[in-house]
Each structure stands twice: as C-alpha cells, then as structure tokens.
C-alpha cells in the first residue's frame, strides 16, 4: 500500500509533535493538582533535578499499558506523577532493607502525550527528581 493522503497527514502531525516535545525540562510547570501530590510527598521540601533515571518508550502506541522503569541510587521511596492524567498520582515505590537497589519497573496508563515525573526521597531526607517526555498515540484512560 502506498502512502495515502490520510497516513501522510498523520505522519506529518506526529513529526511536528515529537519535535516540539523534545526541548524538555526548560519550561516545565506542573498542574496544581500534580503539584499538590508532590508537596504532599516532599512536605514542601526542595527538590533537586537529576539523580533519578526514568525510562519509558519515547513513543507509546497503547496508552493503556506503558512500561516504565525508574532508578534512583540510595532512594527510600519514589513517587511517579503523570500530570496529564485525570488522576496524576500513579504509584509510590517504597524500598525496604532487602531491596538490593532502588530500582523498579511496572506498566502504567497514560491519557495523552505528556511529561512523566519521578520524585525520589533519599535516605538522608533530601529529594531528587527526574523527567521523561513521552508521546502517546492512543490514550489509555478511556
């Protein structure tokens, strides 16, 4: 099958979105609801950017099941926030004494293309964060 007008348009559209989505981190502002969950987790403490690795596919075809993986050396717990979801709080990973390393993976639902944020609470009580920009083809929050 050749490239139809419809598929060409869809491809072009996706291209524009991905280009505009990539200069991330610069103008990153959380919705108030997402920010409330972050404040609840940190108790209003400062969050330092970096030190948390959040991995996911850059393009997720099925928003109903997006594999994500997070790693923050020395973290006691990690909160995952998806600001574009109707319920932005996704999951909190708490690592106990036998967890070996502060790394975990799961599969999550994403309503649309957005920035995912991971906030890690370190053993010394400080907070670190990591951001991952993700493009979702079909939303999974129905």
């Amino acid at each position: 099958m050749g490239i139809t007008r419809r598929s060409a348009l869809a491809l072009g559209g996706a291209g524009i979105i991905s280009v505009s989505a990539f200069p991330l981190g610069s103008a990153f502002a959380m919705t108030t609801e997402a920010q409330a969950f972050i404040d609840e987790f940190t108790g209003g403490a400062d969050v330092v950017e970096g030190g948390v690795t959040l991995t996911a596919p850059e393009l997720a075809e099925n928003g109903g099941s997006v594999p994500i993986s997070v790693l923050a050396d020395g973290a006691k717990s990690i909160l995952i926030i998806a600001e574009g979801n109707p319920a932005p709080k996704i999951i909190t990973f708490n690592f106990g004494e036998l967890s070996g390393k502060s790394e975990a993976s799961t599969r999550i639902r994403l309503a649309k293309s957005q920035d995912l944020m991971a906030i890690a609470k370190m053993a010394d009580g400080s907070f670190k964060s990591g951001i991952f920009s993700i493009e979702v083809t079909v939303g999974g929050c129905g």
């Binding site: 999951i91 106990g96 036998l98 070996g100 975990a104 799961t106």
Partner: protein, 109 residues
Amino acid sequence: MAIIKPRIKLPKTAKAGEIVTVKTLINHKMESGQHRNQDTGERIPRMIIHTFEASFNGKEVVTFNLEGSVSENPYFLFFLKVEEAGELMCKWIDDEGSVFEGSKSIAIA
C-alpha cells in the same frame, strides 16, 4: 470474576549477598474509577489493587502504593538482596479487601 492467580518469578538459587531480579504478575481488572457505564452514565466505582508488599523471611523488600493509573494485570520488577536461603512472600490487597498471596523460595548455591 476471573480466578486471580499471582505469579512470581525469581531464580531458584543465588550466591550469598547476590542481588537478584524478581518479577511479579497478577490478573486484576484495576478499574480506575474514571469510567462511566455506557448505558446509564453512572460512574463505575474504583476497584484496584492499592497495595503490594514483598517480604523475605519477614524482612521488608518493597512496598508499592498503587493508584488507578497502574495498568490492568499489574506487573512489577524489583530487586532482592539474598543474604540467606528463605522464602519471598508477596501480597496484593485490593479495594474490596481481598488479599492475594504467593511465595517462592530461594536457596544459596
């Protein structure tokens, strides 16, 4: 409701002090509470697994607090530091108060 069958995957043996990978899977609808009944328009109440706990010989490995945005049939991957032979206990708790448990033992090679 379908029969809920928890699955846990980890190596049968490990060296003392080794960090091993643990994978778990359980079938559960994880109804997020965001959907509405197509005919009546009523909101379908949330029915998710809200807590997952893993412990090894009674010591905490991980505890996960889940919300409605975790996909159905929740899958987890995490790590376990094996100091001694023993049993990994996993526990899933949902909004109806149902508790699903599974365990797997590991020996020192």
